[in-house]
Amino acid sequence: MDRNLNELTDEELILEFQKSGNEKAFEILVLRFKNPLTNYVYRFLGDYDACVDVVQDAFVKVYRYKDNYSSLAKFSTWIYTIAGNLARTEYQRRRKRNFFSISKFGEEDKSFDIPDNSTRPDVLADASMKNEIIQKALLKVRDSYREAVILRDVQEMSYEEIAEIMQIEVGTVKSRINRGRAELQKYLKDIYFD
């Protein structure tokens, strides 16, 4: 039975979970998507603990609202949309919190670049300096551009999939990716133009 479930596609698994409430099917889906989703949300938020929470929340939503899934859409698109929305909300919440906590002590009109000290030590050990610089540059890119760039260049998704996840036109996806890359190049000019 377990072997059979492992052979099922994502869509078949969620349908199985919908119909019979088989938690094993859900567990297989978690196993398949936990790492790519963690990677995607981490690149977007830049905070590992927050990213794990967001991914777990996304799975909780899938578990609770499994009946909202329609077989017309791809499961990956559905779960990425949920995770993306949660990540965006979390990012905005954190940005507001950081802004207010700093503006209390500093000058009112001045904004600050918050250094990212939340990078995991084991990740830091493995990653090169370049990776760290790219991650910091990614966080400086505008939210909508960053999401598109991560989905395309990090997660290696198609334009159509990104358009579905972000619920925008394919043309808009392309322009956002280009603008995001341009912004990223601007922030990384020390690496690429030296």
């Binding site: 989703l37 963690t38 981490y42 794990v52 777990q56 909780v60 609770r64 990740v123 790219i134 190049q185």
Partner: protein
């Protein structure tokens, strides 16, 4: 070309970024979250509302609101804007207003008339009969209205006349106390403030006959005075 190269480099770097994996205890934490969320899900919104601890105070508040609504009668009279209500009529206020509305000139005329009646009743009679002077239409109308005023406003005029008498008597008392030699000075009245019309004495327009009479009397007085002075002079010279 250079831009494409850097773009390619960037894309490659993004692809080769180290993959971040979920922690080992991801599933256990996830199940804990799912179970806790299910527990909270079981208590629905309506179940939360309809607990006896919340229903009792809500029912009491509702009942008291209904009682207040039916017992406390908010009549439209109470709700009426007090600024729009007309003030109640006061009789005493009206009387005062009537006395204030009396025109000053007419009041004076009426007082003069009264004085004429008191001092020269025969002249008033002649005035009324029109013997002394032929009156114009407007003058006769004035007299008529004055008569009416006199009839209607007798009490008021009496009051004014009494006041005048009091002031007159006071003045005379003062003069007596001063031996009749010095007249009392008016109360802080400058010459500019005093006009003939405001003075408290009888004003009369003399007819030509009366003027002739006055002239004759004056002549008599002056001749008597001159005669007296002449007599005095002759006496002094004789002495």
């Amino acid at each position: 070309m250079n831009e494409d190269k850097t773009n390619k480099k960037l894309i490659d770097d993004l692809k080769n970024l180290t993959k971040v994996d979920a922690p080992k205890n991801f599933e256990t934490e996830l199940w804990r979250k799912i179970n806790s969320s299910e527990e909270t899900k079981k208590v629905s919104f309506w179940e939360k509302i309809f607990t006896p601890g919340k229903i009792a105070p809500a029912a009491i508040a509702l009942a008291s609101a209904v009682i207040i609504f039916f017992v406390v009668d908010i009549t439209p009279e109470q709700m009426e804007d007090p600024l729009t209500i007309e003030p109640r009529l006061r009789e005493d206020f009206n009387v005062v207003a009537a006395t204030y509305n009396i025109p000053v000139e007419k009041e004076k005329k009426s007082i003069q008339q009264k004085n004429i009646v008191v001092e020269h009743p025969e002249k008033v009679l002649s005035l009324e009969k029109g013997e002394a002077q032929p009156l114009t239409n407007s003058q006769s109308d004035d007299i008529k209205t004055d008569k009416k005023m006199l009839d209607n406003e007798k009490p008021v005029i009496n009051e004014v006349a009494n006041d005048q008498n009091i002031s007159d008597s006071f003045e005379s008392e003062q003069t007596l106390s001063l031996g009749g030699t010095v007249a009392p000075s008016p109360k802080a009245a400058s010459s500019s403030q005093i006009s003939k019309s405001n003075l408290n004495f009888m004003q009369r327009n003399l007819s030509t006959e009366e003027k002739v009479e006055v002239q004759q009397l004056k002549m008599k007085v002056t001749t008597q005075k001159s005669a007296k002075t002449e007599e005095n002079q002759t006496k002094s010279t004789q002495k």
